[in-house]
C-alpha cells in the first residue's frame, strides 16, 4: 500500500501525474492536490486560526504576572548583557479569572471571560531577540534558510475541506520581517502558498483578493468566455489517452471560476447580525480593524479554509508601555473574545485550534524608564480549542520573568505540538528538497503532551 508520505513525496508538477493516476484508478479525489487527506493519527483539531502579534507583546504584563518583580521595582540588576539595568514592575494588575483562576492582565478583561478555554504556555522561548529572525522562525521554523510557512505545511499535510476556496489565507501580513516568506510555500509546490488578503496598516474594509473579477457585467460574461476556453482546450487535446497537462489546466479554470463565485460573498461581512458584529467589537473604532479580521477568519474557517492567520502589528513597546500596551490590548481584546465566543457558540471551537502568540516576549527590566526590550528567553503564548487543555497553565519563567525555567517549549516544540493536534507527525510530514527530506521542525521539535486535553 502506498503510505501517505509516499503519496505526498510527489514532487512538483506531479499533480498532473497524480491527476493521471486518479483518472486511471477511477478515484476523483486525488486529482486535486488540495483534497482532504488522511492525517497520521486521529486529529484533535481540523483547522487553525493563528492570531499573530507582531512586535513581541509583554508576557509579564499580560499572562505571566510577577509579584516578585513588582516588589523589586526600580532595583538595579546585572544579568548577561543587561548591566546596571533597572527592574520594572508591571504597572498593571492581573486578575484570577474563570473557574480555573487563570491570571490574566487587567488590560484584557474580555478575553479573561474565556479564561477557562485558554491554555497558557508560559515556558516559551525562541532563538533570537530580533524581530525579523524571531518572526520568521515563528512562521517557518528557521531564519537561517528559506523554508515553507506553517500554513503551507499544514495545507500540504491535510489538504482543504473546500476546494473552491484557498486552503491557507493570511490576513493583513506585514511587508517586513521576511514579508511573503511568512506565508510562502518556498520549496513546496505553489498551490500550498498562503493567499494574502489585505495589507498590514490598511483598513480591512478595503481588502480584496487578487484577480477576482470586479463588476457583475464581467462575471456574467465570464462563463461564456470560459466555455470557449475549454472548447479550445478540448480541441487542443490530441486523441489517445487524456493529456494530464491539459486536463489539469481545465480543472484549474473550473476551480478558479468557482472560487471567484465563493470568495466575494464570503469576504462581505455585512450579512452578519448586528449582535455578532458588536460581539467582535466592530462598532468600536479602536477595535474595528482587528474585529473585521477575526470575523473574516471565522467566516473562512466555517467555509472550510484549513489555516487562517491574522496579524496585529504594534507590540514593540520599547517606550511608554503603560499607555501603549493598553491601546494595543484594546484593539484586540473584544475581537478575540468575540471570536472565541462565536466559535464556541457554533460548536466549532472543539475542533478549531486558536493560537495567539508574538515572536517573543519582553524584558522585566525597563528601557528608557517606562518600556521593555525584546526577550527571547521566556514568553507566553496561548492556545484554545481543538485538543488543548482549557484553563490550564503549562510551564513558567523565573520569578522575575527573564527566562523560561519549567515546561520549556521552543518554537520547534510548539510547531511539533500544533501538527500533533492536527493529526500530523512532525517527523513524518516531510518533503524532499535539495537532496534531503525537509521538515517544519528541521531536526528538532518535541510534542508537548502536557497541554493536550
Amino acid at each position: 500500500m502506498m503510505d501517505r508520505r509516499t503519496l505526498l513525496s510527489v514532487a512538483p508538477s506531479s499533480f498532473a501525474c497524480l491527476a493521471h493516476t486518479a483518472m486511471t484508478s477511477g478515484s476523483a479525489n486525488a486529482s486535486n492536490p488540495l483534497s482532504p487527506r488522511m492525517p497520521h493519527h486521529p486529529p484533535r483539531a481540523r483547522r487553525v486560526v493563528f492570531l499573530c502579534m507582531d512586535g513581541g507583546p509583554s508576557h509579564i504584563d499580560l499572562f505571566d504576572p510577577k509579584p516578585a518583580l513588582t516588589k523589586a521595582n526600580g532595583q538595579t540588576i546585572n544579568k548577561g548583557r543587561l548591566v546596571g539595568a533597572k527592574l520594572l514592575g508591571s504597572p498593571f494588575k492581573a486578575h484570577k479569572s474563570g473557574k480555573s483562576g487563570l491570571e490574566i492582565g487587567e488590560t484584557l478583561p474580555e478575553l479573561a471571560r474565556h479564561a477557562d478555554k485558554l491554555c497558557l504556555m508560559r515556558g516559551m522561548h525562541t532563538d533570537q531577540p530580533n524581530h525579523p529572525q524571531a518572526f520568521l522562525q515563528m512562521h517557518t521554523g528557521l531564519f537561517q534558510f528559506p523554508r515553507p510557512s506553517i500554513g503551507s505545511w499544514v495545507l500540504y499535510g491535510l489538504g482543504t475541506d473546500n476546494a473552491n476556496l484557498p486552503g491557507f489565507v493570511s490576513i493583513a501580513p506585514p511587508a517586513n520581517n521576511g514579508g511573503t516568506a511568512n506565508y510562502g510555500s518556498c520549496f513546496l509546490p505553489a498551490i500550498y502558498q498562503g493567499t494574502r488578503l489585505g495589507q498590514a496598516g490598511r483598513p480591512m474594509a478595503n481588502a480584496r483578493m487578487a484577480n477576482i473579477a470586479g463588476g457583475e457585467r464581467r462575471a456574467d460574461r465570464q462563463r461564456t468566455q470560459l466555455d470557449v476556453i475549454q472548447e479550445f482546450n478540448r480541441q487542443a487535446t490530441p486523441s489517445g489517452p487524456a493529456d494530464p497537462l491539459i486536463s489539469g489546466l481545465m480543472d484549474s479554470y473550473e476551480l478558479a471560476y468557482r472560487m471567484q463565485g465563493e470568495m466575494p460573498p464570503l469576504l462581505d461581512i455585512s450579512a452578519e447580525s448586528a449582535s455578532t458584529k458588536s460581539s467582535y467589537g466592530l462598532d468600536d473604532p479602536a477595535s474595528r480593524n482587528f474585529a473585521h479580521q477575526c470575523l473574516l477568519a471565522r467566516r473562512l474557517l466555517e467555509a472550510g479554509v484549513r489555516f487562517v492567520e491574522i496579524c496585529q502589528p504594534g507590540w514593540d513597546h520599547h517606550r511608554g508601555i503603560q499607555e501603549a500596551l493598553t491601546n494595543s490590548c484594546r484593539a484586540i481584546d473584544k475581537p478575540m473574545s468575540g471570536l472565541l465566543g462565536d466559535l464556541a457558540a457554533r460548536g466549532m471551537l472543539e475542533d478549531t485550534l486558536v493560537i495567539w502568540s508574538g515572536e517573543f516576549g519582553r524584558t522585566p527590566t525597563s528601557q528608557g524608564g517606562d518600556g521593555r526590550d525584546h526577550n527571547s528567553k521566556g514568553y507566553t503564548m496561548w492556545m484554545a480549542g481543538g485538543g488543548v487543555k482549557g484553563g490550564h497553565v503549562h510551564g513558567g519563567t523565573d520569578e522575575l520573568g527573564f527566562e523560561a525555567v519549567s515546561g520549556r517549549m521552543h518554537v520547534h516544540d510548539w510547531h511539533a505540538t500544533m501538527l500533533y493536534l492536527l493529526g500530523l507527525d512532525h517527523e513524518r510530514l516531510t518533503y524532499r528538497h535539495a537532496g534531503r527530506e525537509m521538515r517544519l521542525t528541521d531536526i528538532k521539535g518535541q510534542v508537548e503532551h502536557g497541554i493536550v486535553a
Binding site: 511573503t180 505553489a190 468566455q225 471567484q260
Partner: protein, 793 residues
C-alpha cells in the same frame, strides 16, 4: 521536476529494497538523535570522546568505548546503548539531561533488532581516511560507442541512435514527427523564450524544409534573445537577486551588471570552463583589456549576490554564514552537490567530511566579498564594492550639480539634527522614533550620494569578490556553531570527490578551486543535463538538483556521457550542444500519446514523444507582451529596482503589478517580493538554488489568466490590431491563431470563435463598433488562456 520524476519517486518508495529502508530508518530516526543528543560528548569530530566512545562513525559505534561494544546488532537487550537510553541501570543513564521520549527509545530498539544498519563511513577517531566509494557521477567521462540499432531507418543522428537503442530495449516505438508548425513554435520558445511572429510562421509553413529548419536554428542561436532566455536559466541556479532578502531587505543596486554578464556569456557562447572560472575567480585571471578586466570582475558577482542577514549581530556568524552560502551556491550550481550539509557534520550521503567542508570554507573566508549596502538601523555589515574602469556602462543617469548640492545639504542637515539629538539624549538618538527616523533618512541620503562622484557622474561600481590581504584558515565548528570552535583546518580542496585537486599554497585558493571545478567531470555532466532538461522537459539525470548518492541515477548514462564528452571536445560550447539536440529527430518528435508506448513507458523515460510543458513564468509573460505587440525588445541597462539606491529595497507588497514592458529577465528581482505574475507561475525563488522549476497548475493561476489586467490589456491590443485590418471574420480568426498559437486556425476553432463573437455582440448590444471590439477582445483573451498558448507544443 517533472512528471517522470515524481513517478519515479513514487515507484522508488513503493519498491524500496530492505537495505534502503534500513538506511532511511537510520537517517530519519537514529542519526538525528545521535547528532542532537550524543555527539557533543561522544565524537571524534567534536573533539570530546567521553568514555572513549565515538558515536560519529559506524565503526566507532559498534566498537564502543571503555565499557565495551555499545551496540550488538540484532540484540537490543545486549546493547549498552539501549540500556543507557532506557535509564534502566543506575550507573548508565544517557543522555544525562534526562531520558528521551519513549517512542524515540523504541526506534532505537527496533533499529538494533533489525541489525543496526549504519551507512556512515569513516573510521573512528580518524575520519576521512577511508577511500570513498566510487560513484558514477564523479568518474571520468569516457565517450561510449554509438549503439547499433535494429531500426536503421528512424535515427537521423548519433543522438537518435542512443535514444532508439534504449527504446528498442524497452520495446517502445517513437510517435510520428512533430508537424512543422509545432516544431517551429517549439524551437522559438526553447531558444529565445518568445513565440515566432505571424510572418515568420507563414514563411516557414511555405517552406518547412530541413534546410529552412537548420537555418532557423542557426538564426535563433545567434539572436540576442537566446542569451536572455538561457541566461535566465542560469540565474535560477545562481540564486540571482537584487536585494539581501532575509530580515532587513537591502537593495543591491549594482547586481544588474552580473545579470548582463550572464546574458552576454550565453550570447557569446562562452566555454564552460571560462564560464566557471570567471564567476569564481575572474578577479585572479589575467585580462588583455580594461573591458575584459571589468567583465571578469563583474563575473565574480556570482559570489556576492546571495541572500544575507544584515542584522546578524555576531560578526563571525555573519562571515561564516556568507562563506557557507557561497560554498553552497558554488557546489550546487556547478557540481550538483549539496556539500553545505557538511557544515555541521560529515555529509550523510556524499564523501565530504566536515573537515573538508571547513577547508573549502577557508577559501571563501579568505575572500573579500564586495556587495555594498550601508550601515543603518538593523544593518550592520556594509562592504566595499568593486570600482570598474570608466569604460563600463553607467546604468543610471548623471546628477546635476544642483541636485548633488541639494542632496548634500540634506544629508548635512540630517547629520546636525542627529548630532543635536545625540548630545541632548544619547538614548533617544538610539531608540526613539525620532532618532530612528533621522538615522534612516540620513543613511538613505548618504546611500544615494555614494553612487556619484563629485561631478554627479555615476560611479562605475560592481558586486564581486577579491582576495583578502591575509588568507585565513577556519576552525571546525562543532555542530556548525560559531561559539564552539575546534581544531583549525588548512584551506584546501576536497580530495574524495574526484577531479584533480591542487594544493593551495598562497592566496585564498579560489583560483585552484575554480580550476578544479571547471575540469571536474561533474561540471560537464551537470551542465549537459540542464540543457537536456530545458529542451526535453526532464533530465537525463532525473534529480537535476542532486548528482550525489541521494540523487537518482541517470536514465541513460551512455547518452549523458556521450553528450558530455562531445560538449568537452567542443570546448564547452553550449550553442553546439543545443544545436546537436534540436537537430536530432528525438527533439523533433510530436507530442501525441501513443497508446502502445504509453502502456510500456507511461513516464516517457525513453523519450518516445516530445514532452509538453507549461510555459515558464518569464516565457509566459514575455509571450503575452510579444503577441500583443507590446513587448519592448531592447535590453534594459541598469535596474528598475524600486529603490535603486543603497538602503531598504522597497517593493510593492506581495510582488504587486509590473509597470515595465521589457523582457522579464530585466524585471527587478527583489527577494521575498518577486512580481505576482512570476511568483504565481512558479518563477524561481531568488533565495533558493533552482536547477529545475516546479510546474504547478493552480486556481490562483486560473484567476490570473481570467482576470488580471495584463491579460486584458494584451487581449485588447490584439483586438485593435486585427480589427484595424479590413478582412473577413474567418480570416481574422485565422490571423489571431497565427499570432497567438503560431499556426493556422482549424475549421472547428473558426466555427467556435465566430459563434462566440456573434453571440457576444448580440447579447451586449449598444454601439456595434464597441460591441465588436469587446467581443474580439474576449475571443483573443480566450485564445491566450488556452492550452495551445500556455503549453509548449
Amino acid at each position: 521536476m517533472t512528471l517522470m520524476h515524481s513517478y519515479i519517486v513514487v515507484i522508488t518508495f513503493l519498491t524500496q529494497s530492505a537495505p534502503d529502508q534500513s538506511i532511511r530508518q537510520f537517517e530519519t530516526k537514529i542519526r538525528p538523535v545521535l547528532v542532537s543528543k550524543c555527539l557533543s560528548c561522544h565524537s571524534s569530530v567534536s573533539g570530546k570522546m567521553k568514555g572513549n566512545l565515538d558515536l560519529a562513525t559506524a565503526e566507532g559505534l559498534k566498537r564502543g568505548g571503555d565499557r565495551g561494544p555499545s551496540v550488538v546488532p540484532g540484540k537490543p537487550e545486549e546493547s549498552q546503548l539501549l540500556q543507557a537510553l532506557r535509564y534502566s541501570h543506575d550507573d548508565l543513564k544517557m543522555p544525562p539531561a534526562g531520558p528521551l521520549a519513549a517512542d524515540i527509545v523504541r526506534e532505537f530498539e527496533v533499529w538494533i533488532r533489525q541489525g543496526a544498519i549504519d551507512p556512515r563511513s569513516g573510521s573512528p577517531a580518524s575520519p576521512g581516511k577511508k577511500p570513498a566509494p566510487v560513484f558514477w557521477s564523479i568518474t571520468p567521462i569516457i565517450s561510449p560507442k554509438i549503439p547499433v540499432t535494429a531500426d536503421s531507418a528512424w535515427p537521423q543522428s548519433d543522438l537518435d541512435r542512443f535514444v532508439r537503442a534504449t527504446q528498442e530495449a524497452a520495446g517502445v516505438h517513437p510517435v510520428a514527427d512533430a508537424r512543422p508548425e509545432q516544431l517551429f513554435r517549439r524551437l522559438y520558445l526553447d531558444l529565445t523564450g518568445l513565440p515566432p511572429s505571424r510572418e515568420e510562421v507563414v514563411a516557414f509553413l511555405k517552406d518547412p524544409s530541413e534546410k529552412a529548419y537548420a537555418a532557423t536554428v542557426k538564426r535563433l542561436l545567434a539572436s540576442p534573445h537566446f542569451g536572455e532566455t538561457w541566461g535566465r536559466h542560469w540565474l535560477d541556479v545562481a540564486r540571482f537577486g537584487e536585494s539581501t532578502g532575509k530580515q532587513v531587505n537591502f537593495s543591491y543596486p549594482h547586481a544588474w551588471r552580473y545579470r548582463d554578464w550572464v546574458v552576454d556569456a550565453f550570447n557569446s557562447d562562452m566555454p564552460l570552463a571560462d564560464f566557471i572560472t570567471r564567476q569564481l575567480a575572474g578577479d585572479l585571471l589575467p585580462a588583455t583589456s580594461e573591458t575584459a578586466k571589468d567583465a571578469n570582475r563583474i563575473a565574480t558577482g556570482f559570489l556576492a549576490v546571495g541572500a544575507k542577514a544584515l542584522n546578524e549581530r555576531n560578526a563571525t556568524q555573519f562571515a561564516m554564514d556568507m562563506a557557507d552560502e557561497q560554498l553552497d551556491a558554488t557546489t550546487q550550481a556547478f557540481l550538483g552537490l549539496t556539500v553545505a550539509c557538511a557544515r555541521c557534520h560529515d555529509h550523510k550521503y556524499d564523501p565530504v567530511s566536515q573537515s573538508e567542508y571547513t577547508a573549502m570554507a577557508g577559501i571563501f573566508r579568505s575572500t573579500d566579498t564586495c556587495y555594498g549596502t550601508i550601515r543603518l538601523v538593523q544593518a550592520q555589515h556594509p562592504s566595499r564594492l568593486i570600482t570598474l574602469s570608466g569604460k563600463a556602462p553607467a546604468g543610471r543617469e548623471a546628477r546635476s550639480a544642483e541636485e548633488l548640492k541639494t542632496l548634500t545639504a540634506r544629508r548635512d542637515r540630517l547629520n546636525s539634527e542627529l548630532e543635536a539629538l545625540r548630545s541632548s539624549d544619547p538614548m533617544a538618538a538610539f531608540v526613539s522614533m525620532q532618532g530612528v527616523r533621522l538615522r534612516i533618512q540620513q543613511g538613505m541620503v548618504q546611500g544615494q550620494l555614494e553612487l556619484y562622484d563629485s561631478n554627479g557622474e555615476p560611479k562605475r561600481l560592481a558586486m564581486g569578490a577579491k582576495d583578502r590581504f591575509f588568507a585565513t584558515d577556519v576552525p571546525i565548528y562543532e555542530r556548525g556553531e560559531v561559539d564552539h570552535p575546534g581544531a583549525t583546518v588548512p584551506r584546501g580542496l576536497p580530495t574524495q570527490l574526484g577531479g584533480t585537486p591542487k594544493a593551495v599554497k598562497k592566496g585564498s585558493g579560489r583560483l585552484e578551486l575554480a580550476q578544479w571545478i571547471a575540469t571536474h567531470p561533474l561540471a560537464a555532466r551537470v551542465a549537459v543535463n540542464r540543457v537536456w532538461l530545458h529542451l526535453m522537459g526532464h533530465g537525463l539525470v532525473p534529480s537535476s538538483d542532486n548528482f550525489g548518492l541521494a540523487g537518482t541515477p541517470p536514465r541513460d548514462q551512455r547518452l549523458l556521457d556521450w553528450l558530455a564528452s562531445g560538449f568537452i571536445a567542443s570546448g564547452g560550447s553550449t550553442k553546439q550542444l543545443i544545436q546537436k539536440i534540436v537537430m536530432s529527430r528525438t527533439y523533433r518528435l510530436g507530442n501525441e500519446t501513443h497508446p502502445a508506448a504509453f502502456e510500456k513507458d507511461p513516464d516517457n523515460t525513453t523519450w518516445w514523444k516530445h514532452e509538453r510543458r507549461r510555459l515558464d513564468a518569464e516565457t509566459l509573460r514575455d509571450s503575452l507582451l510579444a503577441v500583443s505587440g507590446r513587448l519592448d525588445h531592447e535590453p534594459l541597462q541598469g535596474t528598475q529596482l524600486a529603490q535603486a539606491n543603497e538602503g531598504f529595497a522597497v517593493g510593492p507588497q506581495g510582488g504587486g503589478e509590473i509597470s515595465s514592458t521589457k523582457r522579464s529577465i530585466y524585471l527587478p528581482v527583489l527577494r521575498d517580493g518577486i512580481p505576482e505574475a512570476l511568483a504565481l507561475f512558479d518563477g524561481a525563488d531568488p533565495s533558493l538554488i533552482v536547477p529545475e522549476r516546479h510546474a504547478t497548475s493552480t486556481p490562483a493561476q486560473g484567476l490570473f489568466l481570467l482576470n488580471n489586467p495584463e491579460m486584458i490589456r494584451s487581449a485588447e491590443a490584439l483586438a485593435r490590431m486585427i480589427l484595424d485590418k479590413q478582412e473577413p471574420d474567418n480570416e481574422r480568426m485565422d490571423r489571431l491563431a497565427h499570432i497567438i498559437w503560431s499556426r493556422p486556425a482549424r475549421p472547428a476553432e473558426i466555427e467556435t470563435g465566430l459563434a462566440f463573437v456573434e453571440a457576444f455582440v448580440k447579447k451586449r448590444g449598444g454601439l456595434p463598433a464597441r460591441a465588436r471590439f469587446e467581443a474580439w477582445s474576449a475571443l483573443a483573451h480566450a485564445q491566450l488562456a488556452s492550452a495551445d498558448f500556455l503549453l509548449t507544443p
